[in-house]
């Protein structure tokens, strides 16, 4: 029955995606993208991926909408009607889509336990996580423990992208005018009710983020989700009190420090393992008892991930919010 609900959600997903592509107004497209993310998150939840659903909700519906709106404030809202024939792209897309759908007929049915994916390493992870790490959340254990090297790469990609956003938007800045961000910097300060309620929520959002960070070994949660949610809390402060006040609590140099510091913490845990006689990112040697060492290593690595993600997302938001549109 729940699977049937999933099918309805998937149908809504396709409708929304078509509407995003068709609509000529970019603001409307971004709003629809927010709905798209919410449907996607609900679908992930129905497909038993609690951690992924949490990430998609925090990133897709929260941060992604905020960043797209931040960029849209600097761009024209209307898309020009594309002229001329679009038959070639349509033909390419139809052909590829047909091939893909034809290929799906060889795939195992949804939820088939004998599918090849479920035969290789996954059972081992599910079996060994309670033994080697004494953790309940297998996703966290695989993310920060068994496949930590992979995650280190991802964290470095996020760091690089964040630095890229900051550097690109720091160059060629137009002269700040009287009507520029300084003049708009009030944020929503004059909207009393949203401001009061929003201020009330910020501590709860940050607290909830910290809960996800430290509860990640028992329930859905971990560094990526926690980082995204804490970033949303900090961004909410900047939205309510204005860009200047938002920057005052976390200046750019602190943000860069956070971004780099998180990634460095991750690397430092790996190197500490080497110094203590193990391999890179081998946590078992970090404490006297291998299980305690695994848990310590995973906690530190998750903390590093959370710090980098928070820093990157907040820095990206500020990079857009601090600019004014070219005349």
């Amino acid at each position: 029955m729940v699977t049937l609900f999933g099918l309805v959600l998937l149908t809504l997903l396709v409708v929304t995606a078509v509407a995003i592509v068709i609509t000529p107004n970019l603001f409307v497209a971004v709003m629809l993208m927010s709905i798209f993310s919410l449907i996607m998150a609900a679908t992930f939840f129905i497909l038993d991926a609690a951690d992924v659903a949490l990430t998609e909700a925090a990133i897709g519906a929260g941060m992604s909408t905020i960043l797209f709106l931040g960029a849209l404030a600097l761009l024209a809202e209307r898309e020009q009607r594309s002229r001329g024939r679009q038959w070639l792209p349509l033909a390419v897309v139809a052909l590829t889509g047909f091939t893909l759908i034809y290929a799906t007929f060889d795939k195992p049915r949804l939820g088939d336990p004998s599918a090849p994916v479920h035969q290789h390493v996954a059972p081992w992870y599910l079996e060994q996580t309670p033994v080697l790490m004494e953790m309940s959340n297998v996703v966290t254990a695989v993310l920060a423990g068994f496949r930590a090297y992979d995650t280190l790469g991802e964290v470095l990609v996020i760091l690089t992208a964040g630095l890229g956003v900051m550097l690109i938007l720091a160059s060629g800045r137009p002269e700040p005018s009287r009507r520029g961000p300084a003049a708009v910097a009030g944020g929503l300060r004059h909207h009393l009710i949203p401001r009061v309620v929003g201020q009330l929520l910020i501590p709860f959002i940050v607290l909830f983020g910290l809960y996800l960070q430290f509860h990640g070994e028992f329930g859905p949660g971990g560094g990526f989700q926690a980082g995204a949610i804490i970033a949303v809390g900090i961004v909410l402060h900047a939205l309510l009190e204005g860009e200047a006040a938002g920057r005052a609590i976390l200046p750019t140099r602190v943000l860069v420090g956070l971004m780099a510091g998180g990634a460095l913490l991750f690397c430092a845990v790996g190197i500490a393992g080497m110094l203590l006689g193990g391999n890179f990112l081998d946590y078992a040697v970090l404490a006297a008892n291998p299980v305690a060492g695994q848990q310590l290593g995973i906690h530190l690595v998750e903390a590093g991930v959370g710090i980098t993600v928070t820093g990157t997302l907040v820095a990206a938001f500020h990079a857009f919010a601090d600019r004014e549109p070219a005349a």
Partner: protein, 105 residues
């Protein structure tokens, strides 16, 4: 037993109100009436639905979490409606860029 019946009634009513809100948001003629339908029945539907589940959760950590969710929804829902209505009202005497919502039928 009584708790079960009560929670089922609440869930049914909650679902009904949620649906009514959706119908109102689709069918009513202009933005403000739509907002009214959406927000009023949103609050009522939310209270009844979450209350129905709460009765089933027999006083555990889940009940506390549901209460927290209800609390946040009760705070943010009306605020969001207010903020939206305010923004729409302010835009009426704004020459650009959005059409005034009151003229829609």
């Amino acid at each position: 037993m009584i708790v079960d019946v009560l929670s089922f009634v609440m869930l049914a009513l909650g679902g009904f109100f949620v649906f009514l809100g959706g119908l109102g948001a689709l069918r009513l003629p202009d933005l403000y009436t739509r907002m009214h339908a959406a927000s009023l029945t949103d609050s009522f539907g939310t209270i009844l639905t979450l209350g129905g589940i709460m009765l089933q959760s027999c006083w555990s950590l889940a009940t506390v979490k549901l209460l927290t969710i209800l609390f946040f929804l009760m705070m943010t829902g009306p605020t969001a409606s207010y903020a939206l209505a305010n923004a729409a009202l302010l835009s009426v005497d704004d020459p650009e860029p959005h059409p005034p919502p009151a003229t829609e039928t």
